[in-house]
């Protein structure tokens, strides 16, 4: 710690430039923090997605007279397939509430979904209430806030006109309760399939968008998926069964996905300031060669001088990393309405202690890389040359 005054004066030799470097480092680490946070979020999403939950849809929507829909009669057959512990059916109803821009989607489920989709954040009592009231819905917090729904209110959904037998485009629902959000499931509005089916014309009844399967303990999700698809392969309604985790992996990594771009972008940001800090340290050491020569004459070992240079590189990087990560954390808390419209769709970066650890580690590496060349130069410092000013 006796070296601290030396380091301090070295840092503040040119105060304006020191502050500017530190600000640039902070900006780069803000980007790094956001990207690393995104990585952690995607990781959590993948870890928490389940292999024992399957989603069944029509395999050839262009081929069937029902298009994307499947007959509900398949449910009983699926339940008898080995490895299936529960199977529920769901029907999606799209429409808007009050204003055509306030779009909503109701997921109408049947009673068996209670077991098949048990990870929904509904208590047993809430499931009971849902099935007791045909027009009841449970809304998760995010759509409730977006649509302005409150418990006990009527929720008339205006959908496409041909769906109901009475040709009325309005579907009456009642909000039974507001349930917490679950990031793994996303926003949802849960309704009753029985109500939907009763209101449909006769020829449209008995068709659902898909089924959800809970795989029995000990069975493998991918095997059960294949078994289900093989069962229906030669029928008039071939199915496509995909485990939740497979869906999540595909969604994250497909196309021009953001997940694959995370580390290149973070790396580009760090590379950008690597050259800045390296340049700064190299110049500072070059200008102070005679100072170092004096110190060496006084008896400071060469190793300590190298450590001095490293510390001088490390402190702005470290402070910048911590502040940048903090700023990134602050940015993730910005409410959605201040964000540009499409960005609120991507998952929120999680600024966890792990991200801070990565930032600090990266700062150490950055400092080491920047200070490497000057440190090596110092080791080969010839005291006489330096004092003579050569």
């Amino acid at each position: 710690m006796k070296y601290f005054p030396l380091i301090w004066t070295a840092l503040w030799r040119k105060p304006v430039e020191a502050v500017l470097v530190w600000l640039a480092v902070t900006a780069a680490f803000t980007l790094f923090g956001l990207m690393a946070g995104l990585h952690v979020t995607y990781d959590h999403l993948l870890q928490s997605s389940r292999m024992d939950r399957l989603d069944i849809n029509a395999r050839f929507p262009g081929a069937s007279p029902n298009g994307l829909l499947l007959p509900i009669g398949l449910q009983r057959q699926i339940a008898r397939i080995e490895g299936v512990s529960a199977v529920g059916s769901y029907y999606w109803l799209w429409g808007y509430y009050q204003d055509p821009h306030k779009r909503a989607r109701i997921i109408a489920v049947d009673r068996a979904m209670r077991a098949a989709w048990s990870e929904l954040p509904l208590t047993s009592l809430q499931w009971d209430r849902l099935f007791a009231a045909p027009t009841g819905v449970f809304v998760s917090r995010q759509p409730a806030a977006r649509l302005g729904l409150k418990v006990g209110e009527t929720f008339p959904l205006i959908a496409a006109s041909g769906l109901r037998a009475d040709r009325n485009p309005t579907w009456e629902f009642h909000v039974l309760g507001i349930v917490p959000d679950d990031p793994r499931i996303g926003p949802f509005i849960l309704g009753n399939y029985a109500y939907v089916e009763q209101s449909q014309p006769l020829r449209d009844q008995g068709l659902v968008w898909g089924f959800r399967v809970a795989v029995a303990k000990g069975a493998r999700g991918d095997e059960v998926s294949l078994r289900i698809d093989r069962h229906f392969a030669n029928s008039g309604t071939p199915t496509l069964t995909i485990p939740d985790r497979t869906n999540a992996v595909y969604a994250i990594n497909s196309g021009f996905s953001l997940a694959t771009k995370i580390w290149p972008i973070a790396g580009a940001g760090i590379f950008m300031i690597l050259l800045l800090t390296a340049n700064g340290i190299a110049q500072s050491v070059r200008e102070r060669t005679s100072e170092f020569a004096v110190l060496e004459t006084l008896g400071y070992p060469g190793r300590n001088l190298m450590a001095l240079v490293f510390a001088e590189a490390l402190i702005p990087c470290m402070v910048g990393a911590i502040l940048g990560t903090g700023l990134a954390g602050f940015l993730t808390r910005v409410p959605a309405r201040y964000l540009p419209s499409y960005l609120s769709g991507i998952p929120k970066p999680t600024l966890s202690p792990q991200v801070l650890a990565w930032s600090i580690g990266c700062a150490v590496l950055l400092a080491a890389a920047s200070a490497l060349a000057p440190m090596l130069r110092l080791r080969r410092l010839s005291v006489t040359d330096a004092l003579a000013g050569r």
């Binding site: 640039a24 262009g62 950008m272 300031i273 769709g345």
Partner: protein, 360 residues
């Protein structure tokens, strides 16, 4: 400074090449003569909402150009997903577009490069070169569709449009094999671009039809915006954060440059140069370096990303680092240079001659 700015511009242009490539493939800003007729419930070319009976009525609308045989240049088409097939490069499913004979007349750039054209009325398909590359399809492969396996009999190009990422077959055969109730869209060629107004009004107000008309270029732009909007916004946000870092780096390095040349500036002031040319010189230097950075960053983005095949959920296209994108890069670089060079330029201007000489 050049490198830090080049990094920002490289990252920005690489990410924007996604949207740029999509825009180019969809032909946004293309031929103003073309219009698409869609179902208003849907707003896209998917679905089967336009019944065959309505197509004849639509083709009677005013403003549609007539082909060499006197028939109106309009084509009823259908667009659907094909189930996923195992592929070496990309997972996902290509799209299948069913067109009619008029569809070929409306697409003069479509040319077969291998194999032959499919025959109308048969269950045959041709595959675009991009889809073939992305999904590993060859002539002779069978695509599992209703009615059995439809063989691919040819490969085509279409001037780089989005069609090259799709399979093409006969619309009527596709619809009847799938027992679907109608077409998804009708593509028409208008006599003149401003015939669109009359055409659109006629089609929208006809009581026998439930359709809307839209210029194809506008539909393309809207579709691209829908699919790539978030990526563009993300690109700008990331570019902005990196840009802030580059800004501080620029200021710092320009300060360092000015302070290392204090003697030189003092001498010039002593000779008689006014402060303003000093400041302008600093700014100009920053601007020139930033142009070099823009060129470097743009070249890096072009080298690594231009022409790369991307299979997004709906589209297969090449990433494009277009000239317009280079302009964007140059604009960003110059902005950074001016903003970043301003404080040091002001300091260079306010340097008093004696002070400068004393400092050296």
């Amino acid at each position: 400074m050049v490198v830090s700015m080049a990094c920002v511009i490289g990252v920005l242009l690489s990410m924007l090449s996604f949207t740029s490539g999509m825009l180019r493939a969809y032909g946004a800003g293309g031929d103003p003569d073309f219009a698409v007729v869609l179902s208003p419930d849907n707003g896209t070319e998917y679905g089967n909402a336009i019944p065959p009976a309505a197509v004849g009525t639509i083709l009677d609308a005013p403003g549609i150009a007539a082909g060499p045989d006197g028939h109106p240049l309009g084509d009823a088409e259908v667009l659907l997903w094909v189930p996923p097939m195992p592929s070496l490069r990309f997972t996902g499913s290509p799209e299948l577009r069913g067109i009619g004979a008029a569809g070929l007349a409306l697409r003069p750039n479509l040319s077969i490069v291998a194999g032959r054209m499919f025959r109308f009325g048969r269950q045959e398909l041709i595959v675009g070169v991009r889809a073939a590359r992305a999904y590993g399809l060859h002539i002779g492969d069978g695509i599992a569709l209703p009615g059995g396996e439809w063989p691919i009999v040819g490969m085509f190009t279409d001037g780089g449009s989005i069609l090259e990422g799709q399979l093409v077959g006969d619309a009527i055969t596709v619809i009847s094999a799938g027992h679907a109730s109608g077409f998804g869209s009708v593509l028409v060629r208008l006599t003149r671009p401003d015939a669109f107004g009359a055409f659109s009004r006629w089609v929208a107000s006809n009581p026998a039809l439930k359709v809307t008309a839209e210029r194809r270029a506008h539909y393309a732009a809207r579709t691209v915006n829908l699919y790539s909007g978030f990526f563009t916004e993300l690109a700008y946000v990331i570019g902005a954060i990196m840009g802030v870092g580059a800004l501080f780096a620029t200021v710092k390095l320009t300060y360092a440059a000015v302070s290392s040349r204090t003697h030189e500036i003092a001498t010039l002031r002593a000779i008689g140069y006014q402060p303003l040319p000093m400041a302008v010189a600093v700014l100009l230097e920053a601007a020139v370096l930033s142009l070099v950075a823009a060129a470097l960053g743009g070249a890096a983005a072009w080298l690594f990303f231009n022409g790369r095949l991307v299979a997004d959920i709906h589209s297969v296209f090449d990433l494009t680092v277009s000239p317009r994108l280079f302009m964007v890069g140059i604009a960003w670089a110059l902005t950074l240079a001016v903003l970043g060079g301003l404080p040091p330029a002001i300091r260079a201007a306010r340097l008093s001659v004696a002070q400068a000489h004393r400092a050296t």
